[in-house]
């Protein structure tokens, strides 16, 4: 009985703390995305002929997001019957957007970031310990280009 109560307590903690964290994170993401609208991150391999570039450099941004207990149990139940693991969708979405934001923050004065790529990896993958925390990492990288200012 005590075990069951602890389990229910952990699930409740996971749900309330997890959704509060998620809401806060999304607020921060949309605010910062708004602020960085002037800096496009695109997947083109180059920006024009690059002849007008004064500077180009590699920028990376990386975010690690952990699952909460509620989502973990929910995904475990989902794993029994199959289907879309909706519980994890928002985790990945947050990780990708946070990573892109951090990449932009790495060079806020750039004019454009080209050849943007996003990669994800699961940090707990392959662990023999079943109790290890499922955590995902998103890494965004690209080439930040500074365009020559007219008259220089």
């Amino acid at each position: 009985m005590a075990d069951l109560l602890i389990l229910m307590g952990l699930i409740a903690l996971g749900y309330f703390a997890g959704s509060a964290t998620e809401r806060r994170h999304y607020r921060s993401i949309s605010k910062r995305e708004e602020a960085f609208l002037h800096l496009p991150a695109v997947t083109f391999r180059s920006h024009g002929s690059l002849a007008d570039a004064s500077e180009s450099r590699l920028v990376t941004g990386c975010a690690v997001i952990s699952v909460d207990y509620f989502k973990r149990i929910l995904a475990g139940l989902r794993a029994l019957v199959g289907g879309r693991v909706k519980a994890y969708e928002s985790l990945l979405d947050r990780a990708r957007r946070e990573a892109v934001l951090r990449m932009k923050e790495a060079d806020p004065t750039a004019d454009i970031i080209v050849n943007t790529r996003i990669e994800t990896s699961s940090i707990s993958k392959g662990g023999s310990n079943r109790q290890s925390v499922s955590t995902i990492e998103a890494l965004a990288y690209g080439t930040a280009i500074h365009v020559k200012k007219k008259g220089t």
Partner: protein
Amino acid sequence: MKYTPRPITENVNVSKTSPLREFFTLLLGILAFLVGVYVLLGLTVDLVAPRISPRLEDRLAGLFTSFYAAEDPASPQRARLQALLDDLSAAAGQDERQYQVHVVPDPLVNAVALPGGHIVLFSGLLDQVASENELAMILGHELGHFGNRDHLKGLGRGLVLVFLSAAALGVDSKASRMLQSLLVTTEMRFSRKQELLADAWGLELLVRKYGHAGGASDFFRRVHEQEGGKRFSYLFATHPYPEKRVRSIEMFISEREIPVGETVPFSRQSP
């Protein structure tokens, strides 16, 4: 090409369904499925249990040794209880099985019939017992469970549940270990009907040994008086109301016109 900055307003990558709703739908669905399978297999087990051979049963007995691991085999009480049990099982003549009694120090007022012919008495029960006749009634009751194969029926359902949880969640998962610990407390009980039948069996043995039914209902009456008006706690219990048991035992005695004689005293301290 012109770049037009636009904020993300619509997010197609995240489903907009309620996770709580998904959680409860999945949980209830899976539980309903497991309960369905459990009930179905449980019904089959009730058919199978009476056909399990004593040899197979003795092999299953190994699963339950933890129940009486805490007992003190050298206690003088145990020898006396064992002698009483041997008398009763000889009086019953139901099979050649060697029944063994175990006394476990625990305040629980209860006794358990385990596979392999093991009867576990908790010392809390011995504290409440006043006469040897009452004890014979209790031991006879447990022998009745063996006679009716109730102990295997309980165990069989339990095995089905352990099997199911192990298949669904893995043998070593926290949840399936939790289920197994729950089993020990819930599954080794029997239905009210089984208890009343075992009472009748115990009474029969009591009369065969002592020639009268003295002390048959004393124990249950005492338990009832001590519990007072705590009726509610019996709502979910599988044992019948002690009051109801007393009544059914006394009805049995008066119907069959069994004489009621003097009881032989028993106390924990006497050897």
